[in-house]
Symmetry: C7
Subunit: 94 residues, 7 copies
């Protein structure tokens, strides 16, 4: 893994499924509303963040739901990731 | 259950009742003001959230009232849920 | 009572008195400015709310004054209530 | 006294003096800028408010100066009062 | 002194010097930018303010610089004062 | 090194790569969206910052990703740097 | 020194260098973007500020970089100074 998040940050990759409309046209991910499902790619060490002890609850590989407007999008090696705080992750989907 | 909320988050499903107007026309839920009554579907573990100890007071199956604009709407398996913090739940209705 | 408020929340019912103008016309409550007097209907258990110990000072049946724009209005069994935090109650009127 | 303020709230009655202009016209209080001088009418018990210990420094009968836009105006028995937090009282005038 | 400030408040009187322009015209204080220099008139007792121990560092008679938009202006006995928190005083000028 | 950041501040130099479009035109860095990749140039001592103990996790020479709008740009000896708080650094890239 | 800053405040004097354009025209400081380099003129005692222990890290004579929009500008004896909190000083330049 090339990205090591700091503190309580988590790197996720949004999951986008191609979608076929009734008429058979394939809509690529970018033409739809941003998905809120993502896969965790890397997890910071947690510890004391802004004076509060944070324990990391997610791990790489988890499927998660997150706040749509949370985090910062970054492009590494041509691929897009979102880096957000663990607190912006709403739930793990199993 | 497929959604495991993190921290003090709660997953709820809004309760919408069909409503018949005086003239007999049935108004589907979407044509009305968003309901504020919901059923709790999943509850996070609580614990230390943002440096404060949170004890979860609601449990799956509870009927609750919540702040109309609170939380994030998510779609899982084609069904709509709202994920909010327990603090956005106003009361349990019995 | 059907509504059990969480934490430091209080359920109140606004008190509205019919009012007769000088010309004898009766103004129903809705035509006037929203009243700020209310009766307490249900009181949460208090305890630790947002990391602070809250002791409830009001009880069901109390007449109270409250911040006009505080709280959330809910409709239960066709009747309107306001759910607010105890801190939005200004005073008890005796 | 009919109003019992909660926590660190204070009930005050604004002091308004009639004022005679040079031409002899009497300007009732409402035609002037809102006065900032008031008399304390009732004082809450203080104690722990929002997680902090508050000791009440003013008492009924005190003449005080207060932040012009602070507090909530209420009408009790046809008379207007302002309910504000002690922290919005700037000074006692002797 | 007639004004007793509460907590960490300080009463100051802005110092305004008449100023003569190059052409010899005297500009009264009100025609210029508000001065930021003031004389301390009265000082609150300090102590615990908003949950924090505040020690008063200024005393009556001190010449001080203050944040131009800080505080509340009040008129006592026809004279204008500003009441602000000690934290809005930037420096003592000697 | 000429810049010694205070507290939890970090001095970074944005990394900008020239980029050749398909048609062979070279786009200088300034014509593109601001890069979010940077090299750490100097790191403050950490310690107690705003009442919280901060331990510095990055060191000079680290490649980092940072919040695009974070920090303050400064020009030292004709070269541009950004000074930001460590908390605005999202991740170390290896 | 005539100005004694309170708490964690620092008095600085902005450093402005005359600048000669390529065509040889001298641009006085005021025609350029505000400089962010300054010399520390006086430093407050630090101590407990807003409930937090602050230790002063800069001293009179230090060259510093500061947040461009931070602080309050004051004029003492006809000379312009900026008074800001130590936390608005980004770095010491050596």
């Amino acid at each position: 893994m090339r990205i090591k998040p700091l503190g309580d940050r988590v790197v996720i990759r949004r999951l986008e499924a191609e979608e076929t409309t009734k008429s058979g046209i394939v809509l690529p991910g970018t033409a739809k509303e941003k998905p809120q499902e993502a896969e965790v790619v890397a997890v910071g060490p947690g510890g004391v963040v802004d004076g509060k002890e944070i324990r990391m609850e997610v791990k790489a590989g988890d499927k998660v739901l997150f706040s749509k407007y949370a985090g910062t999008e970054v492009k590494i090696d041509g691929e897009e990731y979102t880096i957000l705080r663990q607190d912006d992750i709403l739930a793990i989907v199993e």
